[in-house]
Amino acid sequence: MTVLLFGVTRDIVGSGSLEIPASEAKGLKTVEDLKTHLKKGYPGLKDLSSLAIAVNQSYASEGDPIQDTDEIALIPPVSGG
């Protein structure tokens, strides 16, 4: 599973994308599972109360199912102008 990171999530993780190995991705059934999994590895993500998630370039809700072949994007609001 590929996770693309935008805005402050890129800064927190320290990279523009993450690859979750199939063995780990197997246990992740929903967007919410993935969020919980990522927050364990990157506690800085816990501070984000406003974070949009896209699965295969479509906006997704917490309960939406995910598969290990999906491309997920973490999109926080960004502030600058």
Binding site: F6, D47, S50, Q57, Y59, I75, V78, G81
Partner: protein
């Protein structure tokens, strides 16, 4: 209309005289005259928008110049809106320029948006975007969103023909300090130029009915590898809004104004000679450009190194540019000072500069 001026645009198949007329009849409001606002205004003005309104209460600082190329060193300290307004009039005397020298606030948003067909967001604060979203939904006008983070940009058209809005994408207002701003992160001068130009493009497309509007789609642009991605999103009817909410909903403190005091109250107690330490948590360059004479500069990232110094005073007040970093500093320091009592100042030096200019 001066057809000669717009000849190359009118020649363009798909735009033509009709496009030029639609543009000439349009009334567009640009909120913000900074990094995004400058290119948005310059292009819309050059291309022949009939009425161009601009809202901004800020004044020009030296650290703005690298990304706001309409301004030069001799403009430092002047209101952005007066300098930009003057330049736009020179650039295209045919445009009706309307200048609103104020920040967008819950109390003035509805009135400012009246009589405009379209709004372009060129602000640099997330809470202001929620306010803009609400006001545009109530007034039933589309708005062009643009925002920056490091080498990235976001772009979308919200509330287009009743389509999805900012709240559909980000239902929850982030807490203060959660998302860093350009003052903390820095920005490469040209990036607001890129995103601002794309915003001007979407504005013209909406007005003239050209091509495919970026509605229900968020464009994510990365300047370092030129990757652009689009994410589709739907309207979320649970986010519908009928009236502007209270100030506290949009204020920098949002739901969490704990430990904050309004700027006016701080100024009163300072004037009364109350003994305290004022800690300015902005970066040294910002501090050097302007600060209250009695302030000390402990940048946000170095606060923890200065705990002992702060504890020497009975009362510590935190200040920054707009109130977002001082609130963040407050949360960082909460419970860490031994004896000093702690407060953060709502608003920031931005408001002081606006008052004195």
């Amino acid at each position: 209309m001066n057809l000669n001026r717009y000849d190359r645009q009118i020649r363009l198949t798909g735009f033509g005289t009709r496009g030029q007329e639609l543009l000439g009849n349009a009334r567009i409001l640009v909120v913000g005259a900074g990094g995004l606002g400058v290119p948005v205004c310059q292009y819309l003005n050059a291309m022949g928008v009939g009425t161009l309104g601009i809202v901004d209460g800020d004044s020009i600082e030296e650290s703005n110049l690298h990304r706001q190329p309409a301004y030069g060193p001799s403009d430092n300290g002047q209101a952005k809106i007066s300098v930009l307004g003057r330049k736009l009039k020179e650039q295209n005397p045919g445009t009706n320029i309307e200048l609103h020298q104020t920040f967008l606030e819950p109390s003035n948003a509805m009135a400012l948006l009246e009589n405009y067909d379209l709004v372009v967001d060129a602000t640099d604060r997330i809470p202001t975007r929620y306010l803009l979203d609400d006001a545009c939904v109530i007034r039933r006008i589309p708005w062009i969103y643009g925002a920056l983070h490091g080498f990235e940009g976001q772009l979308s058209v919200f509330n287009y023909q009743g389509g999805p809005t900012y709240r559909c994408l980000f239902p929850q207002i982030p807490k203060p300090g959660e998302i860093p701003d350009c003052n903390q992160l820095g920005t490469l001068g040209v990036l607001p130029g890129v995103i601002g130009s794309l915003q001007a493009l979407e504005a013209v497309k909406v007005i003239c009915g050209l091509g495919e509007i970026l509605s229900g789609k968020l464009l994510l642009f990365n300047a370092l590898d030129h990757q652009s991605r689009q994410v589709c999103f739907q309207k979320d009817i649970s986010q519908e809004i009928r009236k502007i909410r209270d100030d506290s909903h949009y204020s920098a403190g949002l739901c969490d104004t704990g430990g904050g005091i309004p700027m006016v109250d701080y100024l009163k107690l300072n004037e009364a000679g109350k003994s305290h330490l004022l800690v300015d948590v902005r970066e040294p360059e910002e501090f050097n450009a302007y600060h209250l004479p009695h302030a000390v500069n402990f940048p946000l990232m170095e606060l923890e190194k200065n705990l002992t110094e702060m504890d020497k005073s009975a009362e510590v007040y935190l200040i920054c540019h707009s109130g977002s970093r001082s609130a963040q500093a407050y949360r960082k320091l909460e419970g860490k000072l031994q004896s000093a009592s702690l407060k953060w100042i709502q608003g920031g030096v931005r408001d002081l500069q606006a008052e004195t200019s």
